[in-house]
Every structure is written in structure tokens, then in C-alpha cells.
Symmetry: C2
Subunit: 352 residues, 2 copies
């Protein structure tokens, strides 16, 4: 499944949105629960399957979703689930026992709705670049359509009810994925992250909660969902993201002006290893691609296009490699194929 | 001084001797003391200067030394001393206070005699490759000539007397510098070194006693000088060196047959970093040059000549870089220039 997604030119993952060099993507999601069913952590498999069926028979009525696909998660192989995770469409938690779980997904991968994850509905919009406003309006339109047909668990003094208290209220999580190589290189990143936590924002790794920081990507989001309106949450995150972007730009400037040679050294080393290694882990590849991306942004490397690198960030992930090669691969096989693909795509030169 | 040595085509350092891919060089030295003077550790500066003068006025009588130069060490700048050390002509110990110390050196750098190092005379022959027999006959000719004119400290039951008891007897130290990257890569090297020490041989780093193992070079030598004849010492070392060479060849074979991809990975990574870095320490350069040399020996890299690499091993050392640039350089300047020279010489491409 999903073969057509592999080189999906229309996907937000191509990173062509506004300001996408530093702000790779913008994401907003609502958590919603149907008032006439038990919450997922309490519902039986049968109850969840009923919810699935109900939503499945409804969603095509929503104009924005009329071309979307509906996936019953139990029909997916592990590799396909991993693939969706790597594309940021589903969560780590959504992998695992799959009965009663479903996914609605548009072909540009912008709109995705997980059914029976932690809540009955996890509706998410991901846009390339810095595009929270558009994401918000899109998400509200979908939420409105669902509200017309379903009754959501809601208390007037608390707002939307959710499985985890951090989501109670608006049920909103808003986040941006930032690429901050210069803040990492200049060792200013920890100061930035510390400051964030003091104002109730968190920075997570590439795949959300509890995941590693790979390739200098940081997902910045609000820590709770209560006490402010949706718009306020979004505006707050926007200002924080703009501020961090400024700091990243300052750090880039500093590198160029005061540490140009060591910057070039790091960039050329990364580029050289990407073009010449025969074995490479995804962790190492992420790290070198990050330096290469920075090198392109700063005009140190001129013969590689930024979107080639953006695409490589996605394609070198384990499930993507296996989809690409159409077979299940052991880790050492993946490391070999990853290095081969990096070499081929960055040098345009096919060897063996 | 020594500018002409920098790219000395006739030097043994060019590594064109027999079997020089693995056995980089062969070295034999005699320690001798004049019987009518105090040993250096006890002699006054004046006494040492008298010895210097005596040897200076004599050495041109020896046919093999008639074109050699005589250097009073106190006339040398620190950089020049370091330069001689990097070329394995003088010892670490010979650097430092210089009054009363002298050096006789032939222009091919094969014959060198340190005067008033630990002993009055430290006569050494270094030949490229595996050439102990020729080195020994050369050294004996010189020793014979000195013996005709000078009376050496000698006891019939002990042999030649020396400052350090490990040299008493023949006064001989015989060693070969081996390049053993495959034994290092396959982690067999420690077993080899352990076995060596059990049969009274030692392995030292690139610059002798107490120095680091750089670039997978190991200097194998006898541990003491007593109880065997010169020829026996040399024959013993020869067999040991041949045995280690066989083990290195076996390890190379194993890498090619069972670990070809990771071998290629290591070689291409090293080559890529040498050709692309902007800053490189000598330690790092040694390590990558070692892998590149292995890659050339095993026909993985075909467009670089082995003697270019041999020359780089020498030229990238700190004092060599400074002689090349004709100025005293700070460490960070050297690291930059080292990377530039490596890039230029390996890619044939001059940038900035």
C-alpha cells in the first residue's frame, strides 16, 4: 500500500511552503470524543468498531474529505504503519494492536484523522512551512462539519473533554517543526529550549513525545490546552516560532561572520560523507543532511537543490527504504541501501 | 635550514624500498661511547663540546660520510629540530638544551649520527622498506671506520658499554616501522603486540619510546642488546617482521573477502574527508591517510598513487607544514593549511 505516496509531489512533505527552510511544517490538531460512546481507553473493541463504522459511513459527506481514503488499521502491515509514522500522519501510539482503529487521509496528506487513538477523533492538519492560519481555518471547517452530525463530549465550564487532562479545553495542539542547525552548532539551543519550557511550550523530537532530536529538527508546541482560545494559542505559538527563527538566523549570521571556516568544514565533511559512504545509519544520515541543508541555505553548497535534501530526509527512513525496495530489509541491508541512495541522489552517479 | 629536504626525492622517506607497502622502513643503530671521556650524562658541557670538535674534524675521512653535513645543534631553531624529529633523524630526547650536541647527516638521510645524545655516538641507518641486511652492512662499515680512530668503551665479558643498561652488549637496536591498518581494523593488533612482548620485542609509536600509535604505524624492535650477536638480533627481528607482515596480509584478505562493504565504507569515508575537510588535525589526517593507503594497496582507490600518500604522511606534520609555508603557525592555522594541502594534493584542485 501507499506506493504512490513514496514520491508524492503534492505532499506537504516536499517542504515548499512559506519560510520552509527553517520552519519545516505547521501542524494543528483537535482531540474530540463522541458523547454517546465510552472513551477509547474504556471502550470495548466492538464499541470502537461501531464508532469506526459510523465515521466511515459519514466522512464522504464532508466536502474537504470527499477524495480522502479510509483505512482500517487492522488491514495494514507493520511496514505500512511505520511508513505512515515516518510521514507524521499517525502517532507512535497508533502503531500496535489495530482492531477498532481507523484513519482518514487526503491524498496530499494535509488532512488526517486518527480514529480511536487516545481520543475518538484526532483531526490533524499539516502544512508545509509556516502556515498555521491556513491550517487552523481548514481544521475548523472539518470540525464544524463533524459537529453537525456528531455530538462531542463537552462541558460548558471546561470545554471539550479528552482522555488526557492536558488536552481538555480546546482539545488543541498546535506545533511547528523547526530546523535549527545553527542554534545547535553554536550551542545556543539549550538556552532556547529552557526559555521555552518557562513559558509553557515544549520542544520535542522529530516524532513527537519522547522521541529523539534527529537532524536538528525540533517540534515546538503548546504544553496544555486550557485557559486560552484557539486563536490565542496559535498566536502565542506563532510569536514564539518567529522569535526562534530570528535566533536561528542570528546564529547563522554569527557562523558566517565569525566561524566561517569551521562552518564550511562541517558542511563539506557532511556532504563528503553523504556522497561517499557505503554504510550509513538513519541517525547519521539525518545529522549530515541537516548540515548539508544548512550549507545550501547559506550558499556554501550550490550544486544541490534544497528540495532534494528535503526529500532525502523523508526517503532515507527505514520504512521508506523498504517501500522503495519493495522488500523487508534487515538493519544492515538498510544501512547499505541508504548510503547507496544518498550517493546516487546527491552525485547523480550510479555505481553498482 | 633544510628547505631542500622538504621534497627530497632521494630520501628514504619516499617509501620506495622493498616491500614498503607494509614495511615502511628498516632502521639499525649502534650506541657507542668514547673511552677517554665521561659518558654524556656525567660529562660537562665543555667536555661534550670537545667531543663534538673531535668528531667534526674526523668524520670527513670516512668515505661514506664525505658529503654529509655536520650540524651543531645549538645553531638550530626549535622548528628545525622538530622538523628533524618528524623525519625520524633525531630522537625526542635530542630536542631541548643543545650545547654540546651535534648531528652528522647524509643528504639522502640514510645515515645519521647523533653526538652526545644518551651516548657519545648514536649511529643510525634508515632504509626505505624491508632492508635490514643492507642497513647492517652500511652501519658496520661506519662503525669500523670510527673504531680505527676512536677507542670505544668496551669490556670483553659485556661488550660495548652504554648509558642505559638495555643497550649494553652490542649497543644495537634494530627496528622496522610497519603499517598495519588491517590488523587494527580487524582488532587483531593487540594479540600480535602481546605475543611480541613475550618474545622480547616491543612495539612503539611513530616516534619511538612513549609515543602514540599514529596512522596504524608500529615500530617493532628488540628489547635488549645483550646475549646474541648482531646478526642474530637482526635475523630474529626479520623473522618476526615477516610473520607480522603475513598476519597483516591475512587480515587484508579477510577484510576483502568477508567485510568488503565495511572496508570500502571506511576507505571511501577517509578519502572523502581528506578531499573535503577545511580543518584537520595531524592525528585525524594520519588516521585517514592510513585508510587511504590501505584502499590503494587493495585496489579500492585507483586514481591516487601510493607515493603521494607516503609523502603526505610526512608533509602534514606540524614542523613540515611550517617549513612549507616558511612561517611559524599556530595550531589552528596548521589545521587549516593541512586540510588545504591534503585537498590540493589529493584532488589536484586548487581552491582559495
Amino acid at each position: 500500500m501507499f506506493e504512490s505516496f513514496l514520491e508524492n509531489k503534492n505532499s506537504w512533505l516536499n517542504g515548499k511552503g512559506p519560510e520552509s527552510n527553517i520552519i519545516f511544517s505547521s501542524r494543528i490538531r483537535f482531540a474530540r470524543n463522541l458523547s454517546n460512546y465510552h472513551f477509547p481507553w474504556k471502550a470495548s473493541i466492538e464499541e470502537k468498531e461501531e464508532i469506526l463504522k459510523e465515521i466511515f459511513s459519514f466522512y464522504k459527506n464532508i466536502d474537504l474529505l470527499k477524495d480522502a481514503i479510509f483505512i482500517d488499521m487492522k488491514d495494514l502491515e507493520d511496514l505500512d504503519k511505520q511508513f505512515l509514522l515516518e510521514r507524521h500522519i499517525i502517532s507512535q501510539e497508533f502503531i500496535g494492536p489495530s482492531r477498532g482503529k481507523g484513519l482518514i487521509l487526503t491524498l496530499d496528506e494535509v488532512i488526517s484523522i486518527m480514529i480511536n487513538e487516545e481520543d475518538h477523533l484526532r483531526m490533524q492538519i499539516i502544512k508545509s512551512g509556516f502556515d498555521l492560519k491556513k491550517a487552523e481555518s481548514l481544521l475548523n471547517r472539518i470540525d464544524d462539519e463533524f459537529s453537525k452530525f456528531f455530538s462531542f463530549a463537552f462541558l460548558s465550564d471546561l470545554g471539550y473533554l479528552t482522555s488526557c487532562p492536558t488536552n481538555v479545553g480546546t482539545g488543541l495542539r498546535v506545533s511547528c517543526m523547526l530546523h535549527l542547525p545553527a542554534l545547535v552548532l553554536t550551542r545556543r539551543i539549550n538556552k532556547v529550549l529552557d526559555a521555552l519550557s518557562k513559558i509553557s511550550f515544549t520542544a520535542r523530537g522529530l516524532f513527537g513525545e519522547g522521541t529523539q532530536n534527529l537532524g536538528d529538527f525540533f517540534q515546538i508546541s503548546n504544553q496544555n490546552s486550557l485557559g486560552l482560545s484557539e486563536i490565542e494559542f496559535i498566536d502565542n505559538l506563532s510569536s514564539v516560532v518567529k522569535e526562534i527563527k530570528e535566533q536561528e538566523l542570528e546564529a547563522r549570521d554569527l557562523l558566517l561572520k565569525k566561524y566561517r571556516i569551521s562552518l564550511e568544514d562541517s558542511v563539506y565533511r557532511a556532504y563528503a560523507l553523504l556522497c561517499n559512504s557505503r554504510i550509513m545509519s538513519s541517525k547519521e544520515a539525518f545529522s549530515h543532511l541537516s548540515m548539508l541543508a544548512l550549507g545550501i541555505d547559506l550558499n556554501i553548497i550550490e550544486n544541490i537543490k534544497r528540495d532534494v535534501v528535503n526529500n532525502l530526509f523523508i526517503i532515507i527512513q527505514p520504512a521508506h527504504l523498504q517501500k522503495l525496495k519493495k522488500s523487508i530489509l534487515k538493519e544492515e541491508e538498510r544501512d547499505y541501501i541508504r548510503a547507496t541512495i544518498l550517493r546516487e541522489r546527491l552525485t547523480g552517479f550510479k555505481r553498482q
